[in-house]
Symmetry: C2
Subunit: 932 residues, 2 copies
């Protein structure tokens, strides 16, 4: 017969690498045991035993129980106690422990081994009868609930009844006699529910507890938890059987928790607290105020010295901050648990950098020790944590919206942009509150400390602009009801009027009434993080560029480490107050201009074939058409815009001296520049009804007709992007002229310029061809006019599924690709971000129909597949072509990892996400190297 | 040295299979020559010679000219004439002739070999000096223009000046003397333009003419034509050098054209006309009225007998109707050309079927002889061709829009649906003219003969409904300006008022003012086509199903040969007048219902874990929530709709007894059922201004708020399809209940039902899972209630790119796929069909940015790639799963071919396209078999 399978490991037989077999808890306790630390002796039943148990339909695998009994014997020897011995009884805890921590999801039974006999031994040994009875009632209660699934309430009800009889009505007020009665009542309840007596045989207790722990692996809560966290159901749980120790055996006993360094600041100093004569749960429960750990040095100098030595050893051993639990039982220190300590963002950076300097970890490890979310936290103001907790307690929490742009802000609520500007100029902090925002609101957003909207998702106008401005924003807070006329918002009856204080947390999406103080953070002061990011830069392969429309953004992004501009939008420039009238004029004249130009083009084609009198006639007609007033006004408007555009670009080229700048030609539907249709209908109807200003009515009616003619049912899929470039005469040519004039002139001033022109919304190679051929001609002409050559490229956004599918064709013309994953996600999913987030997308995520919001975390299976196809096809045609991403996902860590995996050259994100992207890109590279 | 390459083929050396080498014309003339027909002798210079000529930068390849001279010698022997012999001169034509016909795109020079000397010989031989000089001036003119590129106008100007001197001012009025002067002037012009004398050396003429023909291959017109028709530039052209024959040598000469069968009716009878003493161009020019071909039997009985024999032989030889050109020169019949004769739809079907019965061609060939477009023509009324031509001449043509639904219609213009109904009831034929149509207009569309809209594309509401109703429709006719208040339309100043006659041709998109008589066609009377389609059915592998929402459509489609319903839309049922108020009520109550139901669901989850008093509290709260008025009204509205839906389905199941019926659950955004936002704004503004009906104002304001809350920026990508199914409680469950109640009850009556439930707009497998699991439960419950099991399936539309990309996952749950290529095209291209067609898509096609409108012809490179992926992934998961198409493309021949190629099981199209699809599917299968 083959050697019997090993189902049970003494703590001394395991180590931390045996996590899969022994579970996380078992592996760590084994590690500590073998490191010679004082760990209460015990053993672990393996996860394999658990799986075998299920395979056998709920029977222990052969030999397991015998191995348990053998291990128990060893523990008895180690402790000098005996399981079930009334004189000196061994009591044990039976705990689950899976490969990864599943907090609160599985079950524990304490004090196993207690019965009426052993109880007496404990009472005698501890000289504390109350302690013994309390432990016993806890065993019956836990065993009843967990092993036998008796409703917890039934035990609580009995306990409650007895507590009511005492003066203080608390657990601690229960006398020994009352506890004895409780034990009797518990046993009676047990018998009534289960139909048999509570097992007094310690081995029977142990056996049933072990079965219950195994069974809990397929309990509903645990299954739900694993489904949610995508944890395999095949892993199984281990069981840890460990000698009980007690911190409440008198004033030579204590219990406590500690971190090896300060988890809030990262300071290298033991941090924690303890209580004398207490159980572990007392430290947490807050019944008594715990004492700072340093004080233990006064109260138990020897124990403390040992403890300090152990924690130092543990930190060095695990090479990270440890969060330990300990108990002192009658002067003897026991280490119960050690695990990696959670920490704040600030502490994470400090600890990682310090540990490198201490020689404890490598730079690579340090980079992996800080999460991108922590970097994000470091760059935004946050609410003072205590003040925020108080705000929650005091009921000033109003509602939760989408965490659209991180950071906290507080100020007076103002309901329109112009008023927001005024109030801000008056020196007050403002939160701009709008149903949704549009380009008309940008001046108000600039003036405000934060933005709150009722509608719109993570990529709504408000959200995108706020992130660009690095202002906190809570978007799509549908619980609000905003009344613009009354200048107030209402949430479930509570009214906030204009001028009232409100506070928003863009990191969490929470909205509060009243002021909550914020804590500011400055990038330049984050010296540890800056050092860490410097190391990250060495590991990453992805470039990190930025999306910036203005010189000031470009400069800031550069400070944050951006290596180029991946997206400079040009439409914002058209929205500036001083240019808007010109733009509107241009749009209004465009239709007639188009007709005239079409006619001219056809005539010019005819002219090529004609001669003599006929040719003269054609020439005359062309000359006549060129006098068309609308057409000439249109082109005059275009000429007016040119110098504005050129200036915009000059500043950006200067700020990005030596780095590439990708400028996207105009993208949004042109009717966005016109007044809204609904507003015009209202005005026209009113003017008609009042009947006193026929001239204004006529003007408004004309505007309405134009707007209606340009109206689109689905503007996102309408006349925009390169389609507008192709249909609006001379528009993109003007832009390219401005770009190259700016580039040439800055180059002449000694700036190293690298303009890259990006043509948006290409769906067919011919669109790219049409625009590129025409525009490159303009570029060359400008360079000739200016007398200088600059390094340039023409490329395209990949944001339409068809462009991805035909990337091989498009790469024939495009010198670079940049993924516009906002639109690509919208079209691939068939989901309009403006509409969906409030109306069904968040509900989808809530109902787990979608794993996450695809506008926040890149959808690898769908959108990602198209991206992969694009990279393959594009580089097949044009080997080594530069491919990046400039959608919102370019600043999101999981999406950045995917970009790394499929071989992009860079990610481009808003300036404030540049540091995050640098870290995320480095982590992706390191994980790849580690084969994870 | 290797044998010299053969560049020149005598007509007797070629045959019809040498089209690539000799060009179409050369191959056919060779074929006729070898069939022993009287063809004027000649030879062909190969396309290879042409390509070599370009490779050598415009030099004839080595040996070519020598071979030409040798061939010329043979022709001289054959004709007994000599090139350049003043006594009996050989004259030749030099014509281009490429592999495929490129009408008018390349060049011809006639009468080569004429000069002052040979001219005399011709004059003497023909006894017609005028004829000789006229031929000579034609040579100089053609040679000057084509070979030397002298502007045609300059010759015309001289000719014009001389004609002005004659009485009749026509070519035929020019006397010999005038012609002699013209020849002198032409020669002078030639010398002035070219700087040398017109070449009198016949061989020089021949050489230069041949060079000119080769050069014309890369002429601008020819290059453009090939680019447009996607013809390779590498093919090159052949040159045909052929002895000139003349039908204008007196009354023993004639020229004519004929078809071997009647090309209008298909009748098996020689059809054509001729003129005595005339040139070929005279027959076409209409200067003299040609005589019916039968009359030639009286005038030249022997020639006619020979001609009849030859045409019969040609038809048998080519096994198709031939279109021949002939000339009789002094009593001798010469065959100049033969080619396959063009024919009407009617004739095509008749000829194909007749030829099978005559044993001339196989059934397979017959199926390939009729185009799907011809089948389409056969099923729709057309304008009387003569009346239409007259309408064009008389200037009653107004404008051209999109040919949205085929067929011709004429009637009085009416500008709203209700009035259209009234006028139609009054017995007048009506054309409904609208800016665009909406479901509110359907009753007017039903009453009208045809529909004309200013906006909207090939898949706009008007177009889709019109095709479904088989009514002619011209959509997106942007040239119109419609004034609904004035009840008139204007096109470039011309006004059509309500009640005026207009005519629309939905096959071509043309719009006319006034009445044009139409010619009706009935399917049942198309016996030849019905026979042909019967044969087609044997060859095709694709099934042909239909899109039908009503029993009457289903029945009609079945008559046309449909083998199932591929798409039964359920939303039309919600739009019916009598159901609309209930639907509106339901939509208005949905938000509150949703909130209540969400709350109930959460409480029910809590209840599972709770017990005792707490459980009682939860139960009480649930009971209270279930009393919510809005919720109960909502579900009551749903209950009201159920019987309506059930009745709809019963009729359809009955009509499709024994065949599968795919029913798509509700798809459009629910706010489509509410009043329009713009209309409400108008009403509210007016009511506010008037201030006299506060109650109505309040009601309208409330409705407006609801509509605005539901408003979507891009409704196509919003809350619709399965998203609505998931978010609107009980809606799709009600539909599935209705479907299965109908199916079970019809099954009990003995109908063989096969319901297939189609879940629309799935983008993530979890949506499919969510709906399928819930709805299949309903289906099973209904079958249990009804006490009968029916055969059923659950499947999904593939209409979102992401669904295509993850088809392997979705196929885990979906039992069938059906491509919704309308939406799939919109999302893959990022183009909204409603907006794009008028605004830029037609311009794109016009500017050749797109090869065709992707909403009409399936885009194989983009959308098609996704379809291919879907088929591969879907069948990998579920081998052999049924996959079809139900988008508009399912009735378009090129798209059908693609569906065949990628292995779909069926195409589904509107009833009237079923016959077209049957033929197109057969042709795709045959082409595949033939390896084409």
């Amino acid at each position: 017969m083959a050697k019997e399978k090993k189902w049970v490991y003494l703590f001394s037989e395991g180590n931390r690498d045996m996590r899969n077999l022994l579970g996380g808890k078992g592996a760590n306790v084994a590690e500590m045991t073998n490191a010679g630390l004082p760990v209460p002796p015990g053993f672990t039943i393996t996860t394999e035993a658990c799986n075998e148990y299920f395979r056998l339909d709920g029977k222990f695998p052969e030999g397991m129980w015998e191995q348990v009994l053998a291990a128990l014997k060893v523990v008895e020897q180690q402790t000098g106690k005996k399981f079930g011995d009334p004189e000196n009884p061994l009591l044990v805890s039976v705990r689950s422990g899976a490969r990864v921590s599943m907090p609160g999801m599985m079950d524990t039974v304490l004090n196993v081994g207690l019965n009426e006999d052993t109880l007496q031994g404990i009472a005698k040994l501890t000289n504390n009868e109350r302690f013994a009875y309390d432990a016993y009632r806890r065993l019956i209660q836990m065993f009843g609930k967990i092993v036998k699934e008796i409703e917890a309430e039934k035990f609580e009800h009995i306990l409650h009844t007895y507590k009511e009889k005492t003066e203080g009505k608390k657990d601690t007020d229960l006398t020994v006699d009352l506890l004895k009665d409780i034990v009797q009542d518990f046993k009676a309840l047990y018998k009534e529910e289960i139909g048999e007596d509570f097992p007094t045989e310690p081995l029977k207790q142990l056996r049933q507890a072990a079965e219950a722990v195994f069974d809990s692996w397929f309990g509903k809560r645990a299954v739900d938890y694993r489904n949610f966290h995508k944890i395999s159901h095949d892993w199984g749980t281990a069981i840890n059987v460990q000698t009980m120790v007690y911190g409440n055996m008198g004033f030579d006993s204590a219990t406590g928790v500690a971190f090896t360094r300060n988890p809030a600041t990262g300071e290298k100093k033991l941090y924690g607290e303890y209580l004398l004569n207490a159980q572990g749960e007392d430290v947490v429960a807050g019944v008594r105020t715990p004492v700072k750990i340093a004080h233990l040095g006064d109260e138990m100098p020897e124990v403390f010295e040992q403890f300090v030595k152990i924690t130092k050893m543990l930190e060095e051993h695990y090479r990270d901050v440890q969060d330990v639990e300990f108990t002192v039982e009658r002067g003897k220190l026991w280490m119960l648990q050690t695990r990696t300590g959670k920490r704040t963002a600030k502490a994470a950076a400090t600890i990682a950098v310090d540990m490198v300097h201490e020689g404890l970890i490598s730079k690579e490890e340090a980079v992996m020790r800080v999460t991108p979310e922590q970097v994000d936290q470091l760059l935004h103001p946050i609410f003072d944590p205590e003040a925020k907790a108080k705000a929650h307690e005091s009921g000033s929490y109003l509602a939760k919206g989408l965490n659209a742009s991180p950071g906290a802000a507080t100020g007076v609520a103002v309901f329109d942009a112009t008023r927001a500007e005024e109030v801000a100029e008056g020196g007050q902090d403002v939160i701009l509150v709008r149903p949704e925002t549009s380009p008309d609101d940008v001046h108000g957003m600039l003036a405000a400390q934060g933005i709150l909207t009722q509608h719109g998702g993570a990529t709504s106008h408000a959200a995108v602009v706020a992130r660009g401005l690095n202002k906190p924003c809570v978007a799509g807070c549908e619980a609000l009801s905003i009344d613009l006329d009354a200048r107030q918002l209402t949430v479930q009856g509570q009214v906030v009027k204009e001028g009232n204080d409100i506070s928003i947390d863009g990191t969490t999406g929470e909205v509060f009434v009243g002021q909550i103080p914020t804590v500011e953070v400055m990038y330049r002061e984050q010296t540890e993080m800056i050092e860490l990011l410097g190391w990250a830069d060495k590991f990453r392969r992805l470039g990190v560029w930025t999306n910036a429309d203005y010189p000031r953004d470009a400069a800031r992004a550069r400070e944050f480490g951006a290596e180029g501009i991946g997206l400079c939008r040009t439409e914002h420039m058209f929205f500036e107050e001083d240019r808007r009238p010109t733009v509107v004029r241009m749009v209004l004249l465009s239709k007639e201009t188009n007709n005239v130009e079409d006619r001219i083009q056809r005539l010019e084609a005819d002219l090529e074939k004609a001669s003599g009198k006929k040719a003269d006639e054609i020439r005359a007609e062309i000359a006549e058409l060129k006098k068309n007033e609308a057409r000439n006004e249109y082109f005059a408007a275009m000429d007016e815009l040119l110098p504005f555009q050129r200036e915009d670009f000059e500043g950006i080229f200067e700020a990005m001296d030596g780095l590439p700048v990708i400028i996207r030609l105009i993208d949004p539907p042109m009717h966005e520049f016109l007044p809204s249709r609904e507003e015009l209908i209202r005005e026209v109807t009113e003017l008609r009804c009042q009947g006193d200003d026929p001239k204004l009515l006529e003007e408004k009616e004309k505007m309405l007709r134009t707007v209606e003619a340009m109206d689109e049912v689905n503007p996102m899929l309408g006349l925009r992007g390169c389609r507008a470039g192709i249909m609006y005469r001379g528009l993109t040519a003007m832009q390219v002229r401005a770009i190259f004039q700016a580039a040439c002139r800055m180059a002449q001033k000694g700036v190293d310029v690298h303009p890259e022109v990006m043509i948006p919304l290409v769906s067919h190679v011919n669109e790219m061809k049409n625009e590129k051929v025409a525009l490159e001609k303009v570029a060359k002409q400008v360079m000739e006019e200016e007398g200088i050559e600059v390094d340039y490229k023409f490329g395209t956004m990949i944001e339409v599924p068809r462009a991805a599918l035909t990337a091989d064709q498009i790469a024939e013309l495009a010198q670079f690709f940049s993924f516009g994953t906002n639109d690509l996600t919208q079209m691939t999913y068939g989901i309009s971000r403006d509409d969906a987030e409030g109306k069904f997308l968040l509900a989808y995520v809530d109902k787990k129909i979608l794993p996450s919001n695809p506008f926040q975390v890149l959808d690898r299976e769908g959108v990602g597949k198209l991206m992969k196809t694009t990279v393959e096809l594009g580089r097949k045609t044009r080997p080594g072509m530069s491919i990046g991403i400039c959608g919102e996902h370019g600043g999101e860590p999981s999406s950045i990892e995917f970009c790394h995996m499929i071989g992009l050259d860079y990610v481009s994100c808003s300036p404030y996400r540049v540091p995050i992207a640098r870290l995320a890109a480095a982590q992706a590279a390191i994980r790849e190297k580690q084969g994870k």
